[in-house]
């Protein structure tokens, strides 16, 4: 049993456990307008967390790649970006669904968190478009890395800008969950992080194999 298989197995188990815990086991949260749909929270928050984490990983790998161009950093940057895009979209969709049901008169575009999530998704899509548009392997990694570092500035500053300038009309009831339920959210974060790690690792392995395949076919041509 190699490390990868263990990681994937643990991630799957953790996610299954989380689904059960979040949907069945966790008690009803108090103080929410729509108590049943509140459970989306256990999926929305961890998804958003992973969306941002994955981008930070891409930015870190980009910086490492520029510092010392080893292919593995480029593979990591790209893998994390692909997985992160999916989680970010999930986060946005679940977040909008939940907020619509929960808050009266909710306007998503006065919410700094929604705006930032949208900017994050735009950044991911731009990153992937850029990668798709460069044929030369050497340049692709470098150009994508440069963009990654610039985008990692844009996203947090978008949050700041939105917080400073945009003042929403709706008010959030309380600050969310009762403390007792925090443990379910915490477990969710752990489960999602494992899922992200497993997916990113699998994607990474695929990228490494692709690179080897290309190198092998080139050697054959000579």
């Amino acid at each position: 049993m190699n490390g990868r298989t263990v990681l994937v197995a643990v991630a799957v188990v953790a996610m299954l456990a989380h689904v059960v815990l979040a949907l069945v086991v966790a008690p009803q949260a108090k103080g929410f307008v729509a108590p049943v749909t509140q459970r989306i929270f256990y999926f929305h928050v961890p998804s958003a967390w992973i969306g941002y984490l994955a981008f930070a990983v891409t930015a870190f790998a980009s910086a490492r790649f520029l510092h010392a161009p080893a292919a593995r950093w480029d593979h990591l940057a790209r893998s994390s970006a692909e997985v992160g895009t999916v989680f970010s979209v999930v986060a946005l969709v679940t977040g909008l669904a939940w907020s619509r049901l929960e808050f009266a008169g909710y306007d998503p575009f006065t919410d700094a968190k929604v705006i930032t999530l949208v900017v994050l998704i735009l950044a991911y899509l731009a990153y992937l478009s850029l990668r798709a548009g460069v044929a030369d392997d050497d340049r692709r990694g470098r150009l994508a890395a440069v963009f990654g570092l610039l985008a990692v500035v844009g996203v947090p500053l978008s949050y700041l800008a939105s917080s400073v300038s945009i003042h929403p009309d709706f008010t959030r009831p309380g600050s969310g969950l009762d403390p007792g339920l925090g443990i379910y959210l915490g477990f969710g974060v752990v489960a999602f992080t494992l899922l992200y790690a497993a997916l990113a690792a699998l994607r990474y392995d695929l990228a490494v194999l692709e690179a080897r395949l290309v190198a092998a076919s080139e050697t054959l041509e000579r």
Binding site: A135, D136, D137, D138, E218
Partner: protein, 218 residues
Amino acid sequence: MLVFEDVTRRFGRATALEGVTLAFDAKTTTALLGPNGSGKTTLLRLAAALDRPSRGAVRLDGRDLREDAASRARIGYAGHDAALYDALTALENVAFRAKLLGRNRAGAEAASALDLAGFPARGRDLAAGALSRGQRQRVALARAFVGEPDIVLLDEPHAGLDEDGAAALDRALAGLAARGATVLVATHDAPRLGALVDRAVALERGRVARDEPRRNAP
């Protein structure tokens, strides 16, 4: 001394240069020969610090060209295409390079360089976009010569020149050699250079196929 240390340059799947190791001394004029696609242009661009090798290093007097911005002041380059700013005049194009080199009397030096390249006094105030191919080529050459660089890299400089222009270029090359510059000329027209050349390096599919002092240019 300009040195190529085991230089390889790959573009995606294609390899332009492979394991090239060469050294070019002062006071020598080398003809760089080879069919289209053999890597001559890539080699010159690497020597001009316009590109970076996939592996290996290009050094000028021991310093890696990629790391030492100042060494670029000593290298004059004229590529395949004239690469001029169409909206600027011939004089302005050359003077721009002179100013970037930090020369105080950029205008005067640009004018001398244009003289050396055989560009007549009339027409220097015309926008480069309005010039003929031969004239553009002379401006590009002037830009390579301005500032008295120690290394002069020319990619097929005779292309587009008429008899007068070619004669001026030959005179300029002789002058450069006399001054002690290192000159590297990529060419299809080796016999033309004839007596000016001290050494001939031939490339074939990215590798050095032949490297010999000139006896009779091939």
